[in-house]
């Protein structure tokens, strides 16, 4: 029996390129404007807040809203994501789904762990690797941007180990450079472990590197400071913002491609497995609509379980939305979120508590499992993810910001071979 080859459709990326560039440039500007407006354009307050953000060790979970007020974290997010956009443009790469996801991810995590100081050493380390391996940096730029998952390592060495100035910053930068140097080869290697079913592959990579780094700290009884900052009660401020942002994406997508139903249907039918570059495959219009919908689903989940609105949760929504251009869509994220939610009801974890709430939002890195193997498999992956993610954080001690990507990689690496073996047997029987 003939099994047809399942194509990923091809869109019109070259024609859409200027619009894609505009989308990734608008995000940092919106974040900057929102942050400055919340800080009532008081530049002194913003500067003081940024100083506090930079000097605090960034061990998970370090909510910048709790540390520096409502507006400054968004200024930090705007600056960091603007830097990411400029690096992408300078590298001359085609900005498509992965690059969009990287920019939104940097923006999101700049509300709780990445800042204008600590993102550079890791990216510098990736640049050093590109020099050492005699390849252009543009080949590693996506890895460099996602690799800032290990940004807290530079902050921890600089400000958490008690090293006197100015040696603290030198040591922090050196640690960041070393971790960045390790990321490109490891990330490529670890991709094979889960076969592209964990969208946050760098989370798995950074988890490994972070585990080694934290083990070294523990061997010398140093580090492990910071963390534990989590603000509450900002629903009235952040909910209207995320609704407006995601709603605008849906509206912009419909305006760009008013007849983009076929594209959206194609996105919803795709598994989402790496590499699912939606703007390249289905065009920008349907991708923007999908990004907005995925973000709105995340926001609805927080409202449903009565979760807090703060840096980490808004950051998770921005990340989910970004991956709406790179693998996530309503059909594959909902089973995973349902799995996390149900598991938190059946276990000792409360769905609105910090880690389970973030697990439901970031756990959607396992969306391709639901996309490929179905709803039940997705729910099982989500449930297992919750149980694993609350435990793996100890290994890297919070140095890896993509803790859910670390757990997601382990869960996908365990489940996918089993699901694939079952699917193969079923396919053989069907012949």
């Amino acid at each position: 029996m003939k099994t047809p080859y399942r194509f990923r459709a091809i869109g019109s990326l070259p024609e859409d390129s200027p619009l894609v560039d505009a989308v990734v440039l608008v995000l940092p500007l919106v974040l900057l404007a929102f942050g400055l407006a919340l800080a009532r354009f008081d530049l002194r307050e913003v500067a003081a807040g940024l100083g506090s953000i930079v000097r605090d060790p960034d061990i998970l979970i370090n909510d910048y809203v709790a540390r520096a007020g409502l507006g400054t974290p968004f200024v930090n997010a705007g600056l960091c994501s603007l830097a990411a956009v400029l690096i992408l443009k300078r590298s001359g790469v085609v900005i498509s789904g992965p690059a969009m996801a990287a920019v939104f991810t940097i923006a999101g995590f700049s509300l709780f762990g990445k800042n204008v100081y600590n993102i550079w050493p890791v990216m510098g380390g990736v640049w050093l690797y590109s020099r050492a391996s005699r390849r252009p940096f543009s080949e590693y730029v996506i890895v460099a941007l996602f690799g800032t998952a290990l940004a807290p390592l530079a902050s921890e060495v600089s400000f958490g180990l008690g090293i006197p100035q100015p040696y603290n910053c030198l040591a922090g930068v050196a640690a960041g450079l070393a971790s960045g140097f390790l990321i490109p080869p490891l990330a490529k290697h670890l991709l094979q472990f889960h076969q592209g079913y964990n969208l946050y592959n760098i989370g798995l990579t950074a988890g490994m590197v972070g585990t080694v780094a934290m083990s070294i700290f523990r061997a010398f009884k140093v580090g492990g400071s910071g963390g534990g900052a989590w603000s509450q009660g900002n629903l009235g401020v952040y909910l209207p913002f995320v609704l407006a942002l995601f709603g605008s994406l849906v509206a912009a997508g419909l305006a760009i491609g008013p007849r983009s139903r076929a594209g959206l249907r194609g996105i919803l039918r795709s598994t989402g497995r790496l590499v699912s570059d939606f703007p390249r495959s289905y065009g920008l219009g349907p991708s923007l609509v999908n990004m907005g919908l995925v973000g709105l689903i995340g926001a609805a989940y927080i409202l449903l379980v009565g979760g807090d609105w703060n840096g980490p949760t808004v950051g998770a929504l921005l990340t989910m939305c970004g991956f709406g251009a790179f693998g996530k869509h309503p059909r594959n994220v909902l089973p995973v979120m349902a799995g996390v939610g149900l598991a938190s009801l059946l276990t000792v974890y409360s769905p609105s508590a910090e880690v389970p709430l973030l697990a439901a939002l970031f756990g959607t890195c396992l969306a391709p499992v639901a996309g490929r193997y179905g709803i039940l498999a997705g729910m099982l992956a989500g449930a297992l993810h919750l149980i694993v993610v609350v435990n793996v954080g100890y290994l890297h001690g919070g140095l890896n910001l993509y803790n859910n990507g670390f757990s997601g990689g382990l869960v996908a690496g365990i489940l996918v071979p089993v699901f694939e073996a079952i699917a193969e047997r079923r396919s053989e029987r069907g012949r």
Binding site: K2, T3, V93, R273, V275
Partner: protein
């Protein structure tokens, strides 16, 4: 084996998977490894694609080169699962020829330019290994 060759072989394996899943049962892969450019011809004499499939294949292999994706995610291309990675493969190699006709069957020729190949008219340089992959100068081998 150098990275360029490995990438081309992955693309070839993706073509093989495509042709097999489309119904071909005799597939020939022919490689040519040059100093500046390497190519691979995948040929299935027993397969004729209909117009729609051919157009879809051409669209899939037409996408722009994206080395930032192919370097990182290229390892997923050619895996023996039914998922399609031709779009990703198109970021790794250029399609030179895609034909499908009753006489001769289906032929797909892809090629890959070396990232740092020698300029035209120049003698090819011996590729230097990066510093961390080189042995100590004058160092003795253990075996």
């Amino acid at each position: 084996m150098d990275a360029e060759t490995v990438q081309l072989m992955r693309v070839a394996e993706e073509l093989l998977k495509y042709l097999y899943l489309e119904g071909a049962r005799e597939v020939e892969l022919r490689y040519e490894f040059g100093e500046a450019r390497s190519s691979c011809l995948a040929e299935a004499k027993d397969l004729v694609l209909d117009d729609e499939s051919l157009a879809e294949l051409r669209r899939a292999l037409k996408g722009p080169r994206q080395p930032e994706l192919s370097e990182y995610y290229g390892g997923l291309v050619g895996k023996r699962i039914d998922a399609s990675e031709l779009a990703l493969a198109s970021t790794m190699a250029e399609a030179e020829l895609i034909v499908s006709e009753p006489v001769g069957g289906t032929r797909i020729l892809v090629s890959r330019r070396r990232a740092a190949g020698p300029a035209r008219g120049q003698a090819p340089r011996t590729a230097r290994k990066p510093w961390f992959a080189r042995g100590k100068p004058g160092g003795r081998s253990k075996d």
